[in-house]
């Protein structure tokens, strides 16, 4: 999934997969922080957004 999204031009750092057990709270926090940091660095996703239909 990640490979094809990347092929279509989504930045690699925007997509993350992780397996976290409900008992692994520390890992959860760590992964979320890491992802947030990486996505913030990329900035908002302006490319894969559907524009609102223009109404006259």
């Amino acid at each position: 999934m990640k490979n094809l999204l990347e092929l279509m031009g989504v930045e690699p750092d925007r997509i993350h997969f992780s397996w976290i057990s409900s008992a692994e709270s520390t890992k959860f926090v760590q992964v979320v922080n890491e992802i947030a940091e990486k996505v913030k660095a990329l900035g908002p996703n302006r490319h894969f957004v559907k524009q609102e239909a223009k109404v006259a």
Partner: protein, 316 residues
């Protein structure tokens, strides 16, 4: 090619007579040149319509989904791989089928011929040694078949049927030293921006007619995700994001199942090469799981089995 056609007719007649099959699925001449159409032969007279030439690119496995009767089907390499897919996915029983295998020498891309021909194409003939003569309103022109072959056929690794009950001719020599995925690799090497621009341009002409889906033997869901309205998975507009999402998801439904038969690209009225998406998935399946779809009825598909050594690098 004439010998192929005659042999197919002969086999079809014999099977119908012996009641080995209630119906033979094959090709007959279409109403315009280069457009052979699928036909369902049930009688001796209809069997005379059957033909085989370089314009039989449609994947006949598409017509097998959930049929009840005994069917004989004409199958080239890729068709046979899709028949295997159908059997593995329980869409048809092996026992119902009589597969008439055709060693394939590649199918002609009609767009390549039309691009190089002036005026309406009136007639097209081919010789056994790979010369194709096109008679158009403006005169006559001869092509070498290898120049006007479909792109997927030029990188085909399985021209001979993988599964058959009878062959119409001796197997042809398959290609061995070809790079199947050169185009995918070139795309992978691009930067994120370039990739995005590539797909913006590639998919811009898409009119969302879903011909690619309809021609695809893998797409047999009773209601396709694009047609569902409750819930609506996908916008129905011509917005590039909706188009991209459609092509992305359609490709994904073919992951580990696509045989690169080229039916989707062939059916596309605006000539989009959407095969690049499924090819990327084929490449990943080959690299990660050593899997190629439709090669054997005894193996379960890559995405259908779990193995402890499955690659999991993408999971943190």
């Amino acid at each position: 090619m004439i010998t192929y056609s005659n042999k197919i007719k002969e086999i079809a007649k014999r099977l119908l007579k012996e009641c080995r099959a209630e119906m033979v699925i094959g090709f007959r001449k279409g109403s315009i040149p280069m457009m052979n159409e699928p036909c369902f032969v049930r009688t001796d007279e209809q069997a005379d319509d059957l033909v085989w030439d370089s314009h039989c690119g449609i994947n006949l496995a598409n017509y097998l989904t959930s049929r009840d009767e005994k069917i004989a089907i004409v199958a080239k390499g890729c068709d046979s791989r899709n028949i295997v897919n159908h059997i593995v996915e329980n869409k048809i029983n092996r026992e119902q089928l009589y597969i008439i295998g055709v060693p394939c020498q590649g199918m002609v891309d009609k767009r390549k011929i039309l691009a190089q021909t002036e005026g309406e194409v009136l007639q097209i003939t081919e010789t056994e040694n790979g010369q194709i003569t096109v008679k158009s309103a403006n005169g006559e022109k001869t092509f070498s078949k290898s120049d006007v072959i479909q792109q997927n056929c030029s990188v085909c690794i399985q021209p001979n049927p993988v599964l058959y009950d009878e062959m119409v001719a001796d197997p042809v020599q398959g290609q061995t030293d070809i790079d199947q995925f050169a185009d995918v690799r070139a795309l992978e090497a691009m930067s994120t921006e370039e990739k995005r621009a590539y797909f913006d341009e590639l998919l811009a002409p898409c009119i969302r007619c879903y011909a690619c889906r309809n021609a695809c033997p893998l797409c047999y869901c009773p209601t396709c995700f694009v047609d569902e309205s409750k819930p609506q998975w996908l916008g129905k507009s011509q917005d590039i994001m909706d188009i991209k999402t459609f092509h992305f998801l359609r490709a994904y439904h073919c992951a580990g199942r696509c045989t690169d038969c080229g039916a989707c690209e062939r059916a596309c009225p605006v000539g989009i090469n959407m095969r690049i998406l499924t090819k990327k998935l084929n490449k990943d399946c080959l690299d990660l799981y050593d899997w190629q779809a439709g090669m054997s009825i005894d193996k379960r598909p890559a995405l259908d089995v779990y193995q402890t050594n499955d690659p999991e690098k993408f999971i943190k």
